[in-house]
C-alpha cells in the first residue's frame, strides 16, 4: 500500500446496495501525476466506486483519505480539490453552455467569462457557448461537461465514462486532456472501457462481479 501523504487513498471499502454486495473490499491509491483507469463489466460497481471516492456515497465499511486524512473531516478542502464528471453531464437544458459553466464553476472560484470561453474553445464547442444546452447533441454536451472539468482547475479528476458519445476526435481530445493534466502533476480516476493510450503513469484496476 502506498502510504504517501499526498494523493487519494481508498482503504478496503465495502458497499451494499440492499442485498447486493457491490464493492467487496476495494483498495486503491492514487498519487499526483498518476492516472488510474477503473475497468470491468457492467454492474461491477465502477460508478459506485467513483461516488464513494468523491464522498457522495458513504461506504458501509472502509474509508477514503485525501492527503492522509479521512475526507469526512476535511470535506470543503477535499471537495475544492476534486472535480467529478458523472455519466450524465449535469447541465441545465434551459441555460446556455456558458451559463451552465458559470454557475457551476463560479461556486468554486471566481472565474471570468474569457476563461470559460477558452475552456469551451479547447473542447471544441466554442460555437455553442450561447446556445441553450437542450439543443446540443449528446456529444456536444459531453464536451461542455469536459470544459467544466477543465475550468475547475482541480488537481483531482474523477471522470465517469468520459469517452461516451464522443467521436474519434473527441476521444483523442479526452486522452490529450488527461495526458496534459497528469503530466502537470494532477491525478485522475477514470471509469472507462475504452483503452486509454497514455505515455504517462497509467494503471488499471479491474473490478469483478
Amino acid at each position: 500500500m502506498d502510504s504517501a501523504p499526498q494523493g487519494l487513498t481508498i482503504e478496503k471499502i465495502h458497499v451494499w446496495r440492499g442485498d447486493r454486495h457491490v464493492l467487496k473490499g476495494v483498495s486503491l491509491a492514487l498519487s499526483p501525476g498518476e492516472l488510474l483507469q477503473v475497468a470491468g463489466p457492467n454492474g461491477t460497481g465502477k460508478t459506485t466506486l467513483l461516488r464513494v471516492a468523491c464522498g457522495l456515497l458513504r461506504p458501509d465499511q472502509g474509508g477514503v483519505a485525501w492527503c492522509g486524512r479521512p475526507i469526512a473531516g476535511i470535506r470543503p478542502q477535499f471537495q475544492s480539490a476534486l472535480v467529478y464528471a458523472a455519466h450524465e453531464p449535469a447541465l441545465k437544458g434551459d441555460l446556455t453552455a456558458l451559463e451552465n459553466l458559470r454557475y457551476l464553476v463560479g461556486l468554486r472560484r471566481s472565474v471570468r467569462t474569457a476563461e470559460l470561453e477558452a475552456a469551451l474553445e479547447r473542447t471544441g464547442v466554442a460555437a455553442c457557448a450561447q446556445l441553450p444546452v437542450r439543443v446540443l447533441s449528446a456529444g456536444q454536451r459531453r464536451r461542455v461537461a469536459l470544459a467544466r472539468v477543465l475550468a475547475m482547475r482541480s488537481p483531482l479528476w474523477m471522470l465517469d465514462e468520459p469517452f461516451t458519445n464522443l467521436d474519434a476526435a473527441g476521444s483523442a481530445l479526452v486522452t490529450d486532456l488527461l495526458r496534459e493534466h497528469v503530466s502537470g502533476g494532477g491525478s485522475a480516476l477514470v471509469v472507462a472501457h475504452h483503452e486509454i493510450v497514455l505515455s504517462a503513469r497509467l494503471r488499471r484496476l479491474e473490478l469483478q462481479g
Binding site: Q6, P32, Q79, A90, Y103, L107
Partner: protein, 253 residues
C-alpha cells in the same frame, strides 16, 4: 473562505496551474457570493420556464374564483369564508410547486455537483429555497389582493392579509424544503411531500386565516401575526439545517 475572490487580477493562465495535490483551503468563493450565484441561477431558470412559475398561480386563481361561483347567492357567507378559502388555496398551490424544489437538479446530476461544490449544503438549500419563495410565495402574495377583491374581502384588511400570507408562504417554503429533501430520491414523491408538510403547516393555516378573520371582524390581529412571525423565524433558522441533512441522507443513501 477568502474575501479576495472578487479580485479579477488573479490571472493564472496556461495549463497545469493548479496548486498540486497538497491539502489546500476550502473554496475561494465566499458562502454569500455562492448563495447569490445560486439565487441568480434559479431565477434565470424560472424565467426561462415561465409555465412552472405560472402553474401554481393559475391554480390559486382558479380555486379561489370557483368559490364565489359555487356560493353565488350568499355574499355574506362568502365574505365570512373568504379568509379561510384564500388561505387553503394558497397552501395547496404552494405545495404544488414544492416537490420540484430539488427534483430537476437531482434528475440531471446537478445536485451532485452542488453537493461537491465545496460550499455548505445548508447555504445552497437556503439560496434555492429563497429563490423558490421569490417566484412562488412572493408572487402569490402579490396576486392575492386581486383574489381578495373577488372574494369580497374589505380593502382595509389587505395589509393583514398580505402580511400573514407573506409570513405563511415563507414558512411553508422552508417546511417544504425539508419534505422535498426527504423525498427527492423517490420516483413519485409529490404525494409524500404533501403528507410530510401538511401536518406541519396546520399552525400556519390556523393563525394565518385567524389573523385575517380577526382583522375582518375589527379585532386586533396582532397576536396571530406575532405567532406567525415567530413560526417564520423558527422555520427560517432551523429548517435549512434539517433540509440539508435530509438531502445529504438522500444523496448518500
Amino acid at each position: 473562505m477568502s474575501m479576495a475572490d472578487a479580485e479579477p487580477g488573479e490571472a493564472r493562465s496556461g495549463e497545469a496551474s493548479h496548486p498540486g495535490n497538497a491539502l489546500g483551503g476550502g473554496p475561494e468563493v465566499s458562502a454569500a457570493r455562492a448563495m447569490a450565484l445560486v439565487v441568480r441561477r434559479e431565477l434565470r431558470l424560472s424565467f426561462r420556464r415561465p409555465e412552472q412559475v405560472l402553474q401554481p398561480l393559475v391554480f390559486f386563481l382558479i380555486v379561489t374564483t370557483l368559490f364565489p361561483l359555487g356560493l353565488s347567492l350568499q355574499l355574506s357567507l362568502l365574505r365570512d369564508m373568504a379568509p379561510g378559502v384564500l388561505w387553503v388555496a394558497a397552501l395547496l398551490s404552494s405545495l404544488l410547486s414544492l416537490d420540484a424544489l430539488f427534483k430537476s437538479d437531482a434528475d440531471d446530476g446537478t445536485l451532485d455537483q452542488l453537493a461537491l461544490s465545496g460550499q455548505s449544503l445548508t447555504a445552497i438549500v437556503v439560496a434555492k429555497t429563497a429563490a423558490h419563495w421569490l417566484v412562488s410565495g412572493a408572487a402569490l402574495v402579490l396576486v392575492s389582493p386581486l383574489v381578495g377583491v373577488a372574494l369580497g374581502i374589505p380593502v382595509a384588511i389587505f395589509p393583514t392579509l398580505l402580511g400573514s400570507l407573506a409570513l405563511g408562504t415563507l414558512s411553508l417554503s422552508w417546511l417544504g424544503a425539508i419534505g422535498a429533501g426527504l423525498t427527492v430520491g423517490l420516483k413519485r414523491g409529490n404525494v409524500l411531500v404533501s403528507l410530510v408538510v401538511l401536518p406541519l403547516a396546520m399552525p400556519l393555516l390556523i393563525f394565518g386565516a385567524g389573523a385575517t378573520d380577526r382583522a375582518a371582524a375589527g379585532i386586533s390581529s396582532a397576536g396571530a401575526l406575532y405567532l406567525l412571525g415567530s413560526l417564520c423565524v423558527f422555520t427560517c433558522t432551523l429548517a435549512p439545517f434539517a433540509a440539508a441533512a435530509a438531502l445529504r441522507i438522500t444523496l448518500e443513501g
